[in-house]
Symmetry: C2
Subunit: 201 residues, 2 copies
């Protein structure tokens, strides 16, 4: 009969985990800008992009945000981040796509937001660029995809880019380094909780 | 033969979308603190929690963060957020669980972090509390679940709480308002990209 030693078992298990992590980290050696896509119906895509941006800025990196779809209310993220000296912040300027009710106006706003984005993707001094809700531009065909793919491929090697939106075009997924698919398992809306300042905007 | 009018079709489609959204928002009327769980293997859980916290602080709400698992390096999020007057920031003080190699030390650190958390969950002046990587405490049985559930249920009605971690205990899911399950569709690690300042920490 052997006596169980839970403490040793735990330490062995942790040591194995550490060995696996160490090996994985040892094999991943390249440092470069990554393209991160945050997609899916679940809550947390834009907030995740902005949290990662904050992490970058914490390391003294320069950031830029372009919000492609945006409600008319002043958002908490705008109030919190936009005056920071290392953060450049752009809002497309129209309300939600389904609120403007005008394709022409939406297309003009999208074209203007893309102009700004193109400049940011050429700027070696911008270390991270967040393109919030940009995926909708492709879904509703407000922007052609090809120039966006070309600009992403040609961007400075160290520049990180995060794109959010429910549905991502396949061509964008092909060139991405990290893709998180955020599933909506439950949402407070369906429990009767309204959109609240600080949580939804 | 009828002539297609793409513009009208688009506007009709958008108007329908707007009607659906309006109805949904009209039916969800309650304002209260929500419990948000961010789980899954994908990248973006902690950053999403911190982005939502920033959104809250942008609306002048008071926040607190307890990081239950934390590497030894100084993180970008700590540098960016921790000195803000509306943000209280706590780090458990030990390295990754599989790096400390001592169950006793981990349990003591977890108990201390829970003491701090319990106080925050009773404080009506804390509008949002982020419990980063707390789910691991239950997975490795560093903390009992029951007192945590009880404290979450008894917290001030307006207080938002966000808990992150790969796997959530069922009892926690039962009392949650919003659950996002972040799937790892692709990760730059597997493409040979190393852990980088501003992206992973």
């Amino acid at each position: 009969m052997t006596l169980e030693k839970p403490k040793k078992t735990h330490e062995e298990r942790m040591a194995r985990k550490k060995a696996v992590m160490d090996e994985r980290i040892a094999n991943a050696k390249e440092e470069r800008g990554v393209l991160i896509l945050l997609k899916g119906n679940g809550k947390g895509k834009s907030s995740s992009a902005l949290g990662t941006m904050a992490r970058c800025v914490g390391h003294e990196k320069a950031a830029a945000v372009v919000q492609f779809i945006k409600g008319r209310r002043e958002t908490g993220e705008f109030k919190f981040f936009s005056s920071h000296p290392l953060i450049e912040w752009h809002v497309m300027g129209e309300g939600f796509t389904w609120e403007t009710q005008s394709r022409e106006r939406d297309e003009a706003a999208a074209a203007h937001a893309w102009e700004i984005t193109e400049r940011l993707l050429q700027d070696p001094n911008r270390d991270i660029v967040v393109l919030d809700e940009m995926a909708y531009m492709f879904k509703y065909r407000y922007l052609p995809l090809e120039p966006v793919i070309a600009a992403l491929k040609a961007r400075p090697r160290h520049q990180h880019v995060i794109i959010t939106g429910r549905v991502m075009p396949e061509a964008l997924e092909e060139i991405a380094d990290t893709i998180s698919d955020i599933k909506d398992q439950r949402h407070a809306f369906r429990l009767g909780v309204t959109s609240q300042a600080g949580i939804e905007y």
